[in-house]
Structures are given as structure tokens and as C-alpha cells.
Amino acid sequence: MPILTADMSAGTLVEWRKQPGEVLERGDTIAVVETDKGLIDVEVFTPGVLEKIVVAPGTTVPTGTVLAIIRDAGSAAAPAPAAPAPTAPTVAAPPAPGRAAAIAPSARIRISPLARKRAAALGIDPASIRGSGPGGSIRQEDVDQAAAARAAAPAGPARSALDRQARLRQAIAAAMTRSKREIPHYYLATTIDMHRATSWLAAVNLERPVPDRLLIGVLLIKAVALALREVPELNSVWRGTEPVRTDAVHIGVAISLRGGGLVAPALHDVAGRNVGDLMRAFRDLVQRARSGGLRSSELSDPTITVTSLGEQGVESTFAVIFPPQVAIVGFGKIVERPWVVDGQIAVRPVVTATLSADHRVSDGHRGGLFLAAVDRLLQHPAQL
């Protein structure tokens, strides 16, 4: 059972999409699991052949539990049913540090003596705990966190929508509490003239067929991705005691769900994609976030989040960082305001862009450069 969200401790296997004997390619959906964030398609990260299904549909298991055995395409089948398969890769490991301890229970687990004692006392398998210490090692607080999360997600049969709602609330509570406890946030805001961006968008959308029209949100997301090239430390994830910078920009897009709660799945490789491609991906992502069917990589991959509450009329949002990310960018409502252009007062559409960032990783000066870059990029929308 892969760890799909920062505070996930268990998941329910809903359905197998592949059967024993089938050949698996990287990226194939092998199973559907139910988590705090709804139904998630679990993807395969290792090509091979599905040898054996271990966990039956309807079963809730802790993260780290082996769901199925995948055999390398070239190797022979396991000789006997009783033979252990210590080297067989487990299903769908998110490519994140700490995965070995998290998803391969047979691998050596790095855990402090104190944490091991605590885990034993609480009856938690260390293999199911995601370590936040050096090299992914498990610390005492990781054990406490796993215990709290387990209490919030007890094993059992499929739960009602109301339960799911309550668990989503608990998952958000756990992540946000951890964020505010561990991350020293600083906050910056700037107001950006959106005249050029909105004018360009209106002209472009006149030319585009209805299904291909762009939303302003896509320009904002793309501008954030390009600005991160200039201040790359904001595109990091916190591992143990230090930030790990990532090259790819996977932007988590905060999407509110009908009936309450939110998810922030990743739009992958935003910096390298054109806005038309991003818009299609964005529409697809919102639809799947609201109807079920997010992919495991979309939940585990975001390297920074963009949130916009402008739809609700909010002019600025000072957001809470999603751990283990180290920054979140907020956009408010685009409003018309008096604005000085070339010494004259003009009416311009403007948006307030905010940055909440982890002070352990960056300083306000660098954060300011980042927001200035977002502003500058939005003044040249055709180049986004």
C-alpha cells in the first residue's frame, strides 16, 4: 500500500485492474485504492509481470503492506507458493526518499531505538511508518504521527461517504497541524497588473474552439513554474532535516471538492508544457479530483502548490504549506482597480499574488524575487 499523501497510514484495496500473469508497463493502473483523498488509481513504477495478488478487494491495510508481487519480465516465476520473495518489488512505490522503508517491509528499516520501542508499545509495524529522519530513518515523532493517523483511519469494511468526508477532514487537519507545528512560515504579497494577460487571453480564446479555451488560472500556474527556474529552492521537498531540491516542477493545484474539503494533485512537468496542453490536463485533473480517479503519482508528486480562492471573491490568500513542500503560492480574485500607468491613473484588472514559504529553506528576499518574476512573466503572456 503506497503512501499517497503526507499523513496517510492505511488504505482500502477496492479493485484489481490487472490479473496474475498480465504484463505490466510503467504507468499502468494496476489497482484502485480508497484513501482519505478518495479513490486513487495506483500506478506501476516497475515494469514486469503480475505474479501474485496478496491483498483482496475490500481489505484495509496499513501503508507499507505488500499488495501484490511483480516479477521482473525476464526472471522465472517463483518456484513454490511458500517461497518468500524478498527482492520482488512491491506495487506502485512513489519515487520518494524513504520509500524503501515505507513500501518494502522486507528491506532493512532504519529506525531509532527509542522509536522502535515506541512502535512496539503502540503495536505499529515500523515497516508501515514513513521516516522523516536522515536517510528516511524513522524517528519517535514519526511513530506518534502514524499512531494518530491510524486512529483516524481504522481498518474495516468500505465506509460511507460521510465517513470519507470525516476522514478527509482529519487528513487535512493532520497535514495542516503538522505544517504549522514544523514549518516556520513567512508571507509575502504583491499586486500584479493583469491587463496584458487578460487581454491576450480574450483574444486567444476568440480564435480557439470552445473545448480548447483557456482559463486565466493556467497562465498563473505556468508563470509560477517558469519563475521557479529563477528561485529554484522554493521547488523543494523537506526530507528529514534538510530540503531536497527537485528539477521537475510538479505543481499541486488546490481543488475544492463538492461537499467540502480539498485535494491538491499534481500537474506534472508544468514548465516544459505549452498552455494549451496544460489546460487540457488541468480540466482533466479537476474532473477526476471531483469524480474520483486521481492517480497515485498525482498525489505523491507535487513539489509546490498553487491555490486560488478568487472564485469566491477573496482578494488575497495567505495559505498554509502542504508538507513536505516548502512553499505555496496564492492568487486572489482579479479585480478592477485604479492603477498608475505612465504617470496617469487608469482602471486595470489586478490580482494579488501571495507566497507562503518555509523560512528554513528561503528568505524573504528570495521570495520577493520569485513574486517579481511571476509579475514580469505575466506581462508577456504570449511567451508563457
Binding site: 480574450a202 480564446n205 476568440l206 470552445v210 473545448p211 479555451r213 482559463l215 486565466i216 488560472g217 475544492s256 463538492r258 461537499g259 488541468f282 480540466r283 479537476v286 474532473q287 472564485e311
Partner: protein, 81 residues
């Protein structure tokens, strides 16, 4: 297509986008934004679905004319000639 058929199509489209609201409870002369939790993505999906169902190309500049159920029926009736 009659106005009743247009109305039925609009309601069906809305129910697909905002399934939490039954069409029967939608007040025809009150803005959608005061009754439904719709954002700009929902608005775009609404226009795309209307385009697919009725083959009407609705320019962005006309979105403000689609604020209520009655206004949608008026607009689409006119646009479809």
C-alpha cells in the same frame, strides 16, 4: 428545438456539472452563482457541454448573459434561430 427542450438540455447539463443540486430546486430567475457552487472551470464545462449538445458557439464575451436558467433559455433560443 422548443424552449422547453432547450430548458431541459440546460438543466441536464447543469446537473452533470453540479450534481448536488437537483434541477427541480433551481429557481429559474436567480443567478446560478447564488444557488450552485460553480467556479470558472464549471462555467467552461457548462459552455462546452452546451456546445456539444446544441452546437451553439458561445463567445466568452457572452458568458455574462448565461447567469440564470431563464437567461440561458432566452440566449440559446435566440442563438439557435
Amino acid at each position: 428545438m422548443t424552449r422547453d427542450e432547450i430548458r431541459a438540455t440546460v438543466l441536464r447539463t447543469l446537473n452533470e456539472i453540479a450534481p448536488e443540486v437537483a434541477g427541480a430546486t433551481l429557481a429559474p430567475d436567480v443567478p446560478f452563482r447564488d444557488q450552485l457552487d460553480m467556479d470558472s472551470m464549471d462555467q467552461l464545462n457548462f459552455v462546452i457541454a452546451l456546445h456539444a449538445a446544441l452546437h451553439v458557439d458561445i463567445p466568452e464575451a457572452d458568458y455574462p448573459k448565461l447567469t440564470t436558467l431563464d437567461a440561458c433559455v432566452d440566449y440559446l433560443d435566440l442563438a439557435m434561430g
